[in-house]
């Protein structure tokens, strides 16, 4: 069963901007799916159409087999959404916001209050349940939107940059929460600018650019397409020039930091052996950027160049 199926989805805004140019996309039930793309690529338009906040120009959307043109209310009842921008009433208390949202989905007040307690506790907001939403910190507001989206226990949860502006500690706890939610059976679609987040959480990925899907595969396969990686080595001593490493491209970032580009099939042991032979100690090592980010930049760059060539 497909949790979400988009068929030839297009959107032309009133100002003539073609935000989506015939998107075909399927997300399987139970998946943890990343929808990535640069700003203005069409991610939020896709989410807007799926959550019925934006009218599509043409095409079809199905949620768990329910066509949104024919079974709109059934399809909507399957979806929970955490939008990019804060969209609750800033003057209402936290508890009221989540209980009311449950009410809009037809959940009786007694049950809604039980669920509010459950999700506000899970998202560490229970102590602030009587606070006016306006008084919450940025991270708390994000978590409140997640709690609100879960009140009707949706089968498909869509998160549009849920961790934007959230500190790393809270971000990690949110990842853990989302991972558990997915393990319990909720299909999750995530858009994010933190590609490390997508790489850590998601099993499948689609990259959207200029209103088109330019890549759609499993995260493993997508990362496999990456031919090279840059490793940053923190050196024990100081170097005046990059050491000789035949077969590798090595550059000095500063006197104590060496960057080495490693191609697919090359062995890291070889680097260490050669450095060791030259008396160079390595204290620690890390990736320069995360692998998905590197691939993302390349794909988007290729797509942008192709679009320029078309015009």
């Amino acid at each position: 069963m497909q949790a979400l199926a988009l068929r030839q989805l297009t959107k032309v805004y009133k100002n003539g901007i073609k935000a989506l140019k015939g998107i075909d996309l399927e997300v399987a039930e139970g998946d943890f799916f990343a929808l990535l793309g640069p700003n203005g690529a069409g991610k939020t338009t896709v989410i807007g159409i799926v959550t019925s906040l934006v009218n599509k120009t043409s095409g079809a959307v199905e949620v768990f087999g329910h066509d949104m043109d024919r079974e709109l209310e059934t399809a909507k009842s399957c979806i929970g959404v955490v939008p990019q921008e804060v969209n609750f009433n800033m003057f209402e208390p936290v508890f009221t916001i989540v209980v009311n949202q449950a009410g809009f989905y037809g959940i009786p007040r007694t049950l809604a209050k039980q669920r509010a307690e459950k999700y506000l506790k899970q998202l560490q907001l229970w102590e602030r349940r009587n606070s006016i939403a306006r008084s919450l910190s940025g991270g708390m507001k994000r978590r409140l939107m997640i709690a609100r989206a879960l009140m009707h226990e949706p089968r498909l949860l869509i998160l549009d940059e849920p961790t934007a502006g959230v500190d790393i500690e809270i971000r990690r706890s949110m990842w853990e929460f989302l991972r558990e939610l997915n393990e319990q059976g909720t299909t999750i679609i995530l858009t994010t600018h933190y590609l490390e987040e997508a790489e850590n959480l998601c099993r499948n990925v689609a990259i959207i650019e200029g209103g088109r899907i330019i890549e759609r595969d499993s995260m493993v396969n997508v990362l496999r397409k990456l031919q090279t990686e840059i490793f940053v080595l923190n050196l024990g001593g100081s170097l005046a020039a990059a050491p000789e490493l035949p077969g590798f491209r090595a550059t000095l970032a500063d006197n104590h930091t060496l960057e080495v580009e490693v191609s697919k099939g090359q062995n890291l042991n070889e680097i260490f052996a050669r450095l060791s032979a030259q008396g160079i100690e390595v204290n620690s090592m890390r990736n320069k950027v995360n692998r998905l980010e590197e691939l993302f930049i390349r794909l988007v760059d290729v797509s942008a160049r192709a679009a320029v060539a078309e015009t």
Binding site: S52, L53, N55, K76, Q101, G103, G106
Partner: protein, 266 residues
Amino acid sequence: MANASMAPASRARAEWVGFSTIIIREFNRIVRIWGQTIVPPVVTATLYFVIFGSLIGKRVGQVDGYEYMQFIAPGLIMMTVITNSYGNVVSSFFGAKFGKHLEELLVSPLPNWLILSGYVAGGMLRGLLVGFVVSLVAFFFTRLHVAHPVAIVSAVLLTSVVFALGGFINALFAKNFDHISWFPTFVLAPLTYLGGVFYSINMLPPWAHVAAHANPILYMVSAFRYGFLGTTDVDLKLAYGIMIGAVTTMFALAVTLLNRGTGIRD
């Protein structure tokens, strides 16, 4: 969850929960900002009673056989109901649109006609609540005789629905706060003041009768006043026809606009 795959009874129950949630939210809003929603219209109505009824009214004498205060009291109550039913929906719905929390409702499975009904019920709630308080104030100034209670209840309910719907349609089209104040200032207020609140149309010169009869608020005020005084200067069948026609037409228009996404969806 309200959806098409549910049994009709479960679906109706879920929709009732959604509808009542909107009303509860609207009621809480009215109470939370009581200094904006309840007190000002009561103070305004009280001033009208003092100035037009008590001070100037004594010099006016009788209108259609009634003391001036008795004559204007139903009109002032109705004027309060009209402005508050309209004002509640226009400000609440536009506020939700402007603050983006309308999206909470738009992503939910509640059908559009039910979202509309919830907001209209919220507008009626405030209109009738403030109208009731103004009625209590009126007792301090005059004796309110009830001639036809059914006429009072039906006229006030229908009028309240009409103007709550008007507020909703205004809020749908509004793009900024100016747009929600133009209609009440330049259309609603003149029609209300010229709708027979303060005078009988029998006091107008013959040429003004035609213009007065083109004003729908005249029929609403007159039907309501008939409930108190037992006399009217308009055809009651026509008055109810106008009110029911306006409710039906405006409800259909508002649902159509919502379905199209006018003013709320890109």
